[in-house]
Symmetry: C2
Subunit: 373 residues, 2 copies
């Protein structure tokens, strides 16, 4: 699997917050779409739409006891992944990223559709079956049912659109916009592992011999696996919604600093994060003890930065009202919850405190113009 | 807009019936997917899935008073459309084909998501906005709300995945499998227009001068428009479902002969169609009176064949129980309903009667190996 995903801004269910890393054309394009979509929505029969463009997924229905939540993630070969990856990993990850979007809404994923564009050579090869196998193995693992999709021929490149429909009890979807000053900020699991795994994979690819590659990755497969097969926090996200624990939520696809900025912007708040509380992936922190290579040493030395700014961990970042925080368990849905800071007033901005000093936390997760190939 | 769509088999919500036009690799590929999907569904929590792979769209939910219906259609540049078409037409048609799938389920479309992959050059151009404009104009026209989607960069080609979610009253979705011997067979509107329009457009493209192109198309814009901007039978399809008029239904995307064969196969029945009852598009039938060109004459001479085998009319083909047929109106949702034949026992096969003689009606709508470029 290739480097980091396209930034959330490109998904226009999440188009509302636009940090400075986007260039003008993107900004303009998304603005154009949003204006038009909003115009169309006004003109169309908008009843039944609970919450649309501007979150991890769209919420609709609003009749009966349940709301539906839907997301689509389009992945394109040579932009979002490479054919040198394991086909099963590509398929698995395609579903995992959409499941993570549904989890970030506090919803429970139920159904999935897979639209797949395949070049003729892939169509006839086990690679295509591998993509399905990976996709279906994620479906089994997370209890969603493949109910449809499309298969199309493409001239050269593989295209995957992964669509997931989830459910919440009515009104229980957790939006990005619900945080208030005073709320506590939490993350699930550990951070920085996927970004470290990507750096390891890229480094290994540059090495000439199989032995050198094996040495570079020795003991650190947990990091590369984190990158290739991210674990969406499906059960934890659903429980945070069902039990009304989270006031706002987003998944960490682009990196903590970027995604926190998005949540804050949508909620109209600031935040203070404590560096010492960031749950850096243990394997990343101790990479230099496990592997004597130069990169392992560099990664361990840069662990906090990777945890703050690295993408694709697919953990959940959420806020909790102070009175609710008292009854928040330490683990939920099999994953540890770590309090990393506090929601502040918007005028206080977003800052990180370390060794008694606070400084501004600048979004520097995904910059796809740097990464684009 | 380019020639005919990929055949329905490629959409694996509709993968059940596999006529002979598919080659082995396709057959095997789809079979593989189906087996795996069914295995996964068995293993996963399949509750709430009402009807999955094997119809125009998948039906899910089954709780409360409504079922949800969802479809995804993946269109790829140079396979399903060309960049020489109007961008607005491409966007409009992308939504129209998915709306037609929902209509064919007797459901009412409510929400749509659009996943769009764009090369950088298109991303920055009015062409991208044009696709959205077309898509949103179809959304307005048919009362669906754009609630999300994705935007991704692609290396070279435009990719569009059009997702539509619709609703029916619980248990009212019309499947392909509900036809019984003795049912009457109907189609909406008129047939053959889109296929004729495609031939006209292809012919016009081969001509050197603007004047020659204008002459070739003179008076026949209704046919080319039919190809470029198909009108899905949204209201009619929804009413056929809501009023429990149709016992089985499919949309005519690949051609009457192919799609009738699919409906019959799913229902386990045969059919007899009367050639004289086929509602050939009037403009096609009279093309030679309107335009003196050679192609217009050829089209008019071939009108019945185009109506029987030409794709992309996006009319609805449906069956009606005899006692219900008595109360079927002549027009429904603004479109004429025409009885074209009768459902027979499976052993009678599918035949067409003309001038007192019956012969076998062979599916010969879309052959994408002939059309593929």
């Amino acid at each position: 699997m290739r480097d980091e995903r396209k930034p959330k801004e490109r998904r226009f269910v999440a188009a509302h917050s636009l940090p400075g890393s986007l260039n003008n054309s993107e900004f303009n394009f998304i603005s154009r779409i949003k204006r038009r979509a909003e115009g169309a929505r006004g003109a169309a029969l908008a009843d039944g739409l609970v919450h649309g463009i501007g979150d991890d997924a769209a919420v609709f229905n609003g009749r009966g006891l349940r709301d539906s939540v839907i997301t689509a993630d389009l992945l394109v070969e040579d932009i979002d992944f490479r054919r040198t990856s394991l086909s099963q990993d590509i398929g698995y990850k395609a579903l995992a990223v959409s499941l993570s979007d549904i989890a970030a809404m506090g919803a429970r994923p139920r159904w999935t559709l897979l639209s797949l564009g395949l070049p003729q050579a892939v169509y006839d090869s086990p690679f295509a079956t591998g993509i399905y196998e990976g996709f279906l193995s994620a479906a089994r693992e997370f209890g969603v049912t493949l109910i449809g999709g499309d298969v199309s021929r493409t001239p050269e490149r593989i295209v995957i659109d992964s669509i997931v429909v989830g459910e919440t009890r009515r009104g229980r979807a957790v939006l990005r916009s619900g945080a208030r000053a005073g709320d506590h900020i939490y993350v699930t699991g550990t951070l920085g592992g996927a970004a470290a795994g990507l750096k390891l994979l890229e480094h290994a690819r540059s090495l000439r011999t199989q032995a050198a590659r094996a040495r570079a990755l020795d003991g650190l497969a947990g990091l590369t696996r984190r990158q290739a097969r991210p674990l969406p926090r499906v059960e934890c996200g659903a429980l945070l919604g069902e039990r009304r624990l989270a006031s706002a939520m987003i998944d960490l696809s682009d990196g903590l600093s970027s995604d926190l900025a998005r949540l804050c912007e949508r909620s109209g708040v600031g935040a203070r994060v404590e560096a010492a509380r960031i749950p850096v992936a243990p394997l990343l922190r101790r990479a230099n003890e496990i592997n004597s290579g130069q990169l392992a040493r560099a990664l361990a030395g840069d662990a906090l930065n990777l945890a703050l700014h690295g993408g694709e961990d697919f953990e959940l970042l959420f806020t909790v009202r102070p009175r609710v925080a008292a009854r928040l368990p330490r683990r939920l849905g099999g994953v540890r919850l770590t309090r990393i800071g506090e929601v502040r007033e918007a005028r206080e901005g977003i800052s990180i405190s370390q060794a008694g000093r606070a400084e501004i936390l600048t979004p520097s997760g995904f910059d796809h113009f740097k990464h684009a190939r």
